[in-house]
């Protein structure tokens, strides 16, 4: 290899020049130059990386270790006629991945903010087309019925699902006790309206309070359930304490949380999501893989805790029990 030719205008620096170049105060000192560009590099990379993180990262609640152990695994019991035999979603996941917009729109928000929701003292007002309108304390209401376990599938309209071991009583038992009049055709449920307890209500994301409803025959169906507990313990705030609905053949948003009022009505209730986006969320909201949401398919779902997707079943797999309620109805029109 030949020595590279030094161009004539770049003489080898004399010792004197070298000494001056490396003098501490000289801005052209290569060492200083290196340090400056290293600092610039670090600051730029750090600022961009950090800024992007701040703007976009939303870590979920809890770590893998915490989710692996289910502190409330319960002894197996014989399955009842309404129970699914599928693996139950661990307590940790069922209570840290929630849609409860009154406690924030991110999935991790409700668990974080549920402390402000006070499930006691709590009263439920019962009115409308009933012979016995009344306002009843939640503990009194619970004492009217023997509590049952129900392991239900829960399918969210967003395309994910869980298996929830509820504790509660059949809605039909409550409705019969209230003696509906002959005019009663629908049941309307209203959730708590209190921005102090439900800080998400300070933003008009939806028209508060949250309202849901069922046709009377749906409400009297043995699967329609009022839950006061989950995994054998009292219902956590983020899951709708102290009283929520569980209608497993319908999308999750029908199963209204933190109920303060139950009204029997003659007319179909104006429900929150159906008002917010009538083309996207209907009054019936029955789980149906053949009726896509306008923006995404409903043919498959992710069971929380699984990586793949499973096929969504008609009426969320409860078709044998509930299909009779919708005989002759066009499920595409009454979605």
């Amino acid at each position: 290899m030949t020595e590279p030719q030094t161009p004539p205008d770049h003489q080898t620096p004399t010792e004197e020049q070298e000494r001056r170049l490396l003098a501490p105060g000289n801005p052209l000192n290569p060492r200083r130059e290196f340090l400056r560009s290293a600092a610039l590099f670090t600051v730029t990379a750090g600022a961009l990386g950090g800024g992007l993180e701040l703007l976009t990262r939303r870590p979920g609640a809890g770590s893998a270790e915490a989710q692996a152990a289910d502190p409330f695994a319960r002894p197996a019991r014989p399955l009842g006629p309404y129970d699914t035999a599928e693996a139950v979603t661990p307590y940790r996941q069922a209570t840290t991945y929630n849609n409860f917009y009154e406690l924030g729109t991110d999935k991790a928000d409700p668990a974080r903010l549920a402390g402000s929701l006070k499930p006691r003292p709590w009263t439920v007002r019962i009115d409308g087309e009933v012979r016995k309108p009344q306002t009843v304390d939640i503990d009194t209401l619970q004492s009217w019925f023997p509590l049952e376990d129900r392991i239900y599938r829960m399918r969210c309209v967003e395309g994910w699902s869980m298996v929830m071991p509820w504790l509660g009583f059949p809605l039909a038992a409550l409705i019969r006790r209230l003696e509906p009049t002959s005019k009663a055709k629908y049941v309307q449920f209203t959730a708590l309206l209190d921005p102090k307890q439900l800080p998400g209500q300070r933003q008009p994301v939806l028209d508060w309070p949250y309202v849901e409803g069922l046709r009377l025959d749906e409400a009297l169906h043995p699967l329609a359930f009022m839950a006061v507990g989950l995994h054998g313990r009292v219902l956590p705030g983020q899951n709708g304490a102290p009283l929520r609905l569980a209608v497993p053949w319908k999308y999750g948003f029908k199963s209204i949380k933190s109920i303060v009022r139950i009204t029997l009505t003659e007319k179909q209730p104006q429900t929150t999501w159906a008002l917010a986006a009538p083309r996207e969320y209907g009054f019936y909201a029955n789980v149906n893989p053949a009726v896509p949401h306008p923006r995404w398919s409903q043919a498959t779902e992710r069971r929380i805790g699984e990586l793949g997707r499973r096929k969504t079943l008609l009426f969320n797999g409860y078709a044998d029990q509930v299909a009779g309620l919708y005989k002759g109805m066009d499920l595409r029109r009454f979605f």
């Binding site: 610039l40 590099f41 670090t42 730029t44 990379a45 750090g46 600022a47 961009l48 990386g49 950090g50 992007l52 993180e53 703007l55 976009t56 990262r57 939303r58 870590p59 979920g60 609640a61 809890g62 770590s63 893998a64 270790e65 989710q67 996941q93 840290t96 991945y97 917009y101 729109t105 999935k107 991790a108 967003e158 994910w160 933003q203 994301v205 939806l206 917010a276 986006a277 896509p292 306008p294 923006r295 995404w296 398919s297 043919a299 498959t300 992710r302 929380i304 805790g305 990586l307 793949g308 997707r309």
Partner: protein, 199 residues
């Protein structure tokens, strides 16, 4: 700009760490999809902020990092799409159906497709081969892509539309900044006009 690339890849590293430590929550795939999509959009907006910034301030560094930001945005958009494919089990039939029948997916997919030729022609050689005028014309596709991406983001949100609307507001501001040239520009000589400059 290696510093920008390093900084831009940090979130991807954090995402991998989050995924391994289970910090993505109960539905990690959905979380990863949302995060990569948002990163792609933010980086795309940053790359579009470069030219107005250079015009308004006279700094030259924004122009030098623009390409890195654009390529990073494309990288995250591609990753976002790959996670979506994985999410749906790489089922070509269902995917084609999704792309054709759901405007939400159609729009997002189109936004990504428009970025592909831009990423492929991001080299100085491509500029020479196409000629500057044609190359610039081609790269105007980014304006279409970023609006489609914002619409896709808006449609992907169930109800709380604040974040996508903020993205749209930033985008509108950037477009205004493009139209409204600062007035001093005509009066002041261009920053490159420095007489006999050294190489």
């Amino acid at each position: 700009m290696p510093a920008v690339v390093t900084g831009g890849l940090l979130p991807a590293a954090v995402l991998v760490l989050d995924a391994l430590s289970g910090a993505l929550g109960a539905n990690p795939i959905q979380r990863a999809t949302q995060q990569t999509g948002l990163l792609a959009l933010v980086l795309l907006l940053l790359s579009l902020a470069c030219t107005p910034l250079r015009r308004w301030t006279g700094w030259t560094w924004p122009a030098r990092v623009r390409k890195s930001l654009g390529l990073l945005a494309f990288g995250y958009a591609a990753l976002h799409f790959l996670i979506y494919l994985f999410d749906h089990g790489f089922a070509p039939v269902q995917m084609t159906e999704d792309v054709l029948e759901r405007p939400f997916i159609t729009v997002g997919f189109t936004a990504l497709l428009l970025l592909v030729p831009l990423a492929l022609t991001s080299t100085p050689r491509a500029v020479r081969r196409l000629g500057f005028a044609r190359w610039t014309g081609l790269h105007r596709l980014v304006y279409v892509s970023v609006w489609l991406a914002t619409l896709h983001y808006y449609w992907g949100v169930k109800k709380d539309h604040t974040p996508p609307l903020m993205a749209a507001a930033v985008l509108a501001l950037l477009f205004l900044a493009r139209w409204w040239r600062p007035r001093q520009r005509a009066a002041r000589p261009l920053p490159t006009d420095r007489g006999s400059a050294s190489p």
